[in-house]
Symmetry: C2
Subunit: 282 residues, 2 copies
Amino acid sequence: MAIGAISSASDRPASAALHRVAADNATDVGAIRRRIRTGTYRGHTSGLAPRHVQANVVILPSELASDFLLFCQRNPKPCPLLAVSEPGQPLLQALGTDLDIRTDVPRYRVWRDGTLVDEPTDIGRYWQGDLVTFAIGCSFSFEQALLDAGLPLRHVELGRNVAMYRTSVATQPAGRFHGPLVVSMRPFTPANAIRAVQITSRFPSVHGAPVHLGKPELIGIEDLGRPDYGDAIPVADDELPVFWACGVTPQAVVAEARPAICITHAPGCMLITDRLNHELAS
Amino acid sequence: MAIGAISSASDRPASAALHRVAADNATDVGAIRRRIRTGTYRGHTSGLAPRHVQANVVILPSELASDFLLFCQRNPKPCPLLAVSEPGQPLLQALGTDLDIRTDVPRYRVWRDGTLVDEPTDIGRYWQGDLVTFAIGCSFSFEQALLDAGLPLRHVELGRNVAMYRTSVATQPAGRFHGPLVVSMRPFTPANAIRAVQITSRFPSVHGAPVHLGKPELIGIEDLGRPDYGDAIPVADDELPVFWACGVTPQAVVAEARPAICITHAPGCMLITDRLNHELAS
């Protein structure tokens, strides 16, 4: 499983137009979930049900679950846990009254020993009694809060993926899981960068405040124009690059561990939950 | 009245040692106030009663008071008002049960038509029935919160005044009062800069969050090594300069207006109030 294969794992080809259309028309989370569950909708979830929390999904065998749980506990900024299932339990009642992880992600990726073997729209045939689901907060929630506050998101305006970078900052390892922190970058003017710190600080369960701003070289990023994942996003002369811990971090770490089986959401095809973004605000 | 004359108006020659000694020994605000009131103590107030709110003081004739009040309302970041007296009322009960503005500042400056005419330890002989006192929040409160959070303050470590700069950013004028925003600068690593935004955002009544960070040229600061007021403070290669709206702003604006009479605190000799810093936190 090449790192490149998960290049957009927690982010998506976003567009301002998609955001607008979705905000107008797609707010009935029940209807959206039914279309996803039946396989009618198998696309990106950016802008779908924009008031609702979306989640990164990692499903692992229980023998690895306690190490991964510990990894998330030790690295809460890249791995903010929204919910963890019991082994074999496909329902995630903490995130939705009828939410079934086997059917309610638009598209999955199934990995065996680190190799991508399938990209199905449901995972019923892969389900095992020992699988544990981890739902991890996603930047969509804080991006919606930034947009609501009138802050521009360059990657959304350009219809691109957010730019993501492997840093020289190591995560805190746990058992088989270790690797570098991956960050996403959004450019802001200094005044908007300060506002973005304030706004995202209120959302610790979806990556929270930035981990760095300005001076990318201090965290091992040599060329902002060449992200490791996602798309290059221009930073204007009057802007600072602002870096948030990214949900690609746990996926990259799991990829390196090459578990016998692992199931994730496909890039940009997140789990849409019943939770509302504003419920997450501290 | 030259601008240079107020070069340290809201800040002080701070030192880490002074902070420490004061924190240990000088927490009895009543005893401190008695020493100030009797003229026994006439020095800087940095580190005195460090849990207590200190204030910038501007005293103006009532004919100018409504313009100045409007100026503060329009510019809350440099001019966060803690209290405004009735004309001729020397007691500031909002800030202390027995607080008398005629005696309770260690040292004052008296200005007539823009010229410094006296630097007394009480202003009884200058008191007029039309004088209005403005008590304006001071960065000491948020600096204490930054120190409490373990963030280093370079100017305190070096025993220097904070560096202050006139910017190219205009304040919102009101009547006779207008002029540039003055900012104070503190250097922080990017991670500490983010933490400083979070911490100072909780203190809107003492300047609140930074107004700018990184890229000093965008706000008209051409050389960080040459502050307009206070002392030069070095910024390391792995640090960003972080800028807060500064209480020197209203003093510079008043100086430009050249009122018939104006009384301020002497640089670094602030009004110590009964209010506690933590009461101000949102």
